[in-house]
Subunit: 311 residues, 2 copies
């Protein structure tokens, strides 16, 4: 149930990391862009097709060693309806290779509107007598600013479809404290949000100790990771901010429990643009991504130790 499938993939690969697929067109190797522009024009469709080819190359290079991908919706919406089609096709391809798909959409709304988002990204939609899956995420990131009315509509859909969510708790950006660190009766807002995750998660308990309601906790705030791990024993963390945003494996070690579970660390640019950093030539983008994914896995596993699933 819930996020258990993700934990099983993490255990299988002995790798608590996720490859963020945030494909700015600049990240796509020139030869892929050129080929798709020639075929589809220098259009939104051409860009979207180039990104899909790039993503598929990355997935081919990663699927046996990395448990999950996290496509960021913004970079697909940026290319209009063609881009959104590439989001779907990317999810489909990653799933066909056995990867767990976390859709990073940070969606939020209330009541029937949140039900619509839940159906769109985690559930099924009925049209006449038929049922369809509009998008193919296994989990979705969401924003809890609207309170329980914004989260509860997701819980039934997650329960019915074996899916999970990650609620923004303490984000990795420099200004995240402007609101999130403010104190309410001595308690920072991110802790309040974290405690709501524990509460919501009671409706979606999992077999490995963590519920289907995870939390986004930035790698750039190691003190807060430590504190949140202590007070949120059933909440699995999605941890952005490693690499490009400056955090190291040591900063996130506190997210993990004695079984090596408790979080999954994202790297987007680090993996997608590895060929630029490694200066190995753009035709080697996939191999470079794999090398970086292995380097990252080994670095993080150095702190995490062996990952075991105990029921």
């Amino acid at each position: 149930m819930s996020l258990d499938r993700l934990m099983e993939k993490i255990e299988q690969t002995q790798n608590p990391t996720v490859a963020g697929l945030d494909p700015k067109l600049d990240y796509v190797p020139e030869f892929i862009r050129k080929k798709n522009f020639e075929r589809y024009g220098e259009t939104l469709k051409g860009a979207a097709k180039a990104i899909l080819e790039f993503n598929k190359g990355l997935i081919d290079a990663l699927y046996d060693i990395v448990p999950a991908v996290k496509p960021q919706a913004a970079y697909y919406e940026m290319y209009g309806t063609a881009g959104v089609k590439t989001l779907y096709k990317t999810q489909e391809y990653a799933k066909s290779k056995g990867m767990y798909v976390i859709t990073d959409g940070k969606r939020n709304d209330i009541g029937t509107t949140m039900e619509a988002y839940a159906a769109a990204h985690l559930g099924k939609v009925k049209v006449g007598l038929s049922e369809y899956e509009p998008f193919l995420g296994d989990a979705l990131t969401v924003n809890g600013y609207l309170g329980s009315d914004g989260i509860k509509p997701l819980l039934q859909v997650c329960s019915d479809n074996d899916k999970g969510i990650f609620v923004l708790v303490k984000t990795s950006n420099p200004s995240s404290g402007e609101l999130q660190d403010k104190l309410v009766d001595g308690v920072p807002i991110y802790e309040l949000m974290g405690k709501m995750c524990e509460e919501w998660g009671k409706n979606l308990s999992g077999v490995y100790g963590y519920s289907g309601v995870g939390a986004v906790v930035g790698a750039t705030y190691p003190e807060q990771i430590k504190r949140l791990r202590e007070i949120l024993p059933h909440t699995f963390f999605l941890i952005p901010g490693y690499g490009a945003q400056g955090a190291t494996a040591k900063d996130i070690a506190a997210a993990f429990d004695k079984n090596g579970l408790g979080g999954i660390v994202n790297s987007s640019r680090g993996i997608m643009c590895a060929y630029q950093k490694q200066k190995c030539g753009e035709h080697e983008f996939a191999e470079a991504a794999r090398r970086e994914a292995i380097r990252m896995r080994d670095e993080i596993m150095g702190f995490v130790g062996k990952i075991e699933l105990n029921k």
Copy 2:
């Protein structure tokens, strides 16, 4: 600049209301559903095409008396890529009729990712030497939980493209207080968020006294509307919760200044499903929507008085 074009449309129509286009398939008259299912199948595409036809009928019935539409992204994403295409086509049609388009997406993220959302929904995207508009909103709703890193990337795009944003401040749902009403040094969080809107708006000042950074303030909280109008003199309000959620024109009167400016009131179900409430037969859905839009306008204008633009 900014939200000025919206205020000009409001003055022109003497109507501070917006028609929410949240097209659940159940809302679409049977004859439209049937026609499109016969043509495109009982598929996501069939549903999306039916919704587009419904939306166009509503826009035809409203464009000369209602200044703006607010399509809610969730109800389009729910029908997959075909649904997202209907969002685009709805925006395009509304704009062709001269309406102002507020995309209700409640998007949020940071840095380059927020830049991607800004380009997607309010800006332009370069592919090779060409520029495209991925989606066609004039304004976008956004969520400020991530702080300034999540809002600042929008401001330049708004400035360059004459667009605006509405930040969630005090939402209309029953549980909005779980987080938003919590006190920080005696000040509720929604006030802090409102004050951030005033701050961000300094970079996007308008000619009619309100900036390009508006606030979402629920009609269901009249006390808070009154207080927020007092402390946020340059922030224009987008006001959901009228009608179906129980608020009346009297509840929202305090949002408006002496010139009748200051806010725009949304009705979604009330207008879209007017034909069901009026029991007039589904073929009259557009006329019913128009009657309800006029009734709502007259009710609200009874409290607002004449709307004047003073530079």
